[in-house]
């Protein structure tokens, strides 16, 4: 019983510590410093129609799938 209470207390403390840590985070890249990241050449997926076609071609030619942060669609077959 005591150990259960201790576990709950410890968990609560950890959660509180975690939350206070979150509130203390200051954005280290300010909005006015994001001009380079906003440049179109920095987009992860600048051409959704093209990347979807390639992604689907790979999924048809290889045994792997998922884990990619790009758009999909398209083809590639037997």
């Amino acid at each position: 019983m005591r150990s259960k209470l201790f576990s709950r207390l410890l968990l609560s403390l950890l959660l509180m510590a975690g939350l206070s840590a979150c509130s203390g985070i200051e954005p280290w890249v300010k909005p006015y410093e994001r001009d380079r990241l906003a440049d179109p050449i920095m987009a992860f997926d600048p051409d959704p129609v093209s990347s979807s076609f390639m992604q689907h071609a790979y999924e048809s030619r290889e045994g792997a799938r998922g884990g990619e942060g790009a758009a999909g669609g398209g083809c590639g077959c037997n």
């Binding site: 985070i25 990241l37 129609v49 990619e68 999909g72 077959c77 037997n78």
Partner: protein, 379 residues
Amino acid sequence: MRFTRGIAVVVLALFAGNAVHAGVLPEERTDIAYQLYTGGGVDINVPHVLVRKQAGSSLSFVGSYYIDMVSSASIDVITTASPYTEERKQWSLGMDYLRGNTIMTVNYTSTEESDYDGSNVAFAVSQDMFGDLTTISLSYSYSDDLVGNSSDPTFEEELKRQQYGVGLTQILSRNLISSLNFTVITDEGYLNNPYRSVRYADPGTALGYSYESELYPNTRTSSALGIRMKYYLPWRAAVEGEYRFFTDTWDIDSNTASLSYTQPFGPWTFTGKYRWHDQTGASFFADIFPRSEATNFRGRDKELSPLTSHTVRLKAAYEFIGGADGWKFIEKASINASVDLMHFDYHEFKDLSTGAPFPDEPLYEMDAVVFQLFFSFWY
């Protein structure tokens, strides 16, 4: 029909792409593309259109449509069947709803061909946090497909797929952005290709082997973890690295890595990319089985063989409308052309088309090229 099965993967990945800019609706744009895949005896011509338009400040709608026109005389087809042509039509409709720093997305996709019908529903939510430096996304999709067989009108099997995704996009510095995506996919149903065969040793025949239908497990669960990093170079160029680890219950493990470089020159933007993929084979894959029905499950799909692939991509984009004024309602427009040179080395799948006697057939290898030409308009 093989390529139909990737819809769920594709739709979920679409959301992961959105996660980069959660808190801002995707750009309004239209893409009109012609795409061609040619290699290994297969030609696929694809007209493809995508339209995205906002309604008010918090809703964005997207629709896409394309047709795969396939002509196939692949290594599988010429060794065990006859060349064929077919068409696949796919359309999808989606909606994004922006509220505060949250984007909620719903998407429906339908695909149709003579021997395969599929539909997919997908949901996703993404949230910006920590001063918009971090975006977290969660997604789920469900596919319900019907597999047919063009030579047997009574043949009909079901295939269901669920996909779960978690994504994290993180701004690390004013020059560096990263993205982490984890995907779990579960399939349940008919995962065979109804036309494909495996071969087994049959000393009583002239060839030394015979064929029988392949037989796959009815379930498959896979996990993939991908990481991407993109860095802005001091002379206005970008370099991107990507790595993915994949594993599944069929014992396929794979590593995929790529490196790309993007360099703008005035209205031109050039991109070069190299991609490498290496995988182990499925536990029930064999180029030849020792006898008929030798194992519970059997497959000779070359994509389930251990293999290594290499791709080199070159792409050029020319912005012909841009600057501060645009033209009428179009803010920006570009024409894009790309070529992807692909090479596949199969480590256990043999080439039976060379005429070499059994068991001295060479291992199969294949080159393929993807050409893409498309116009993009932003408004």
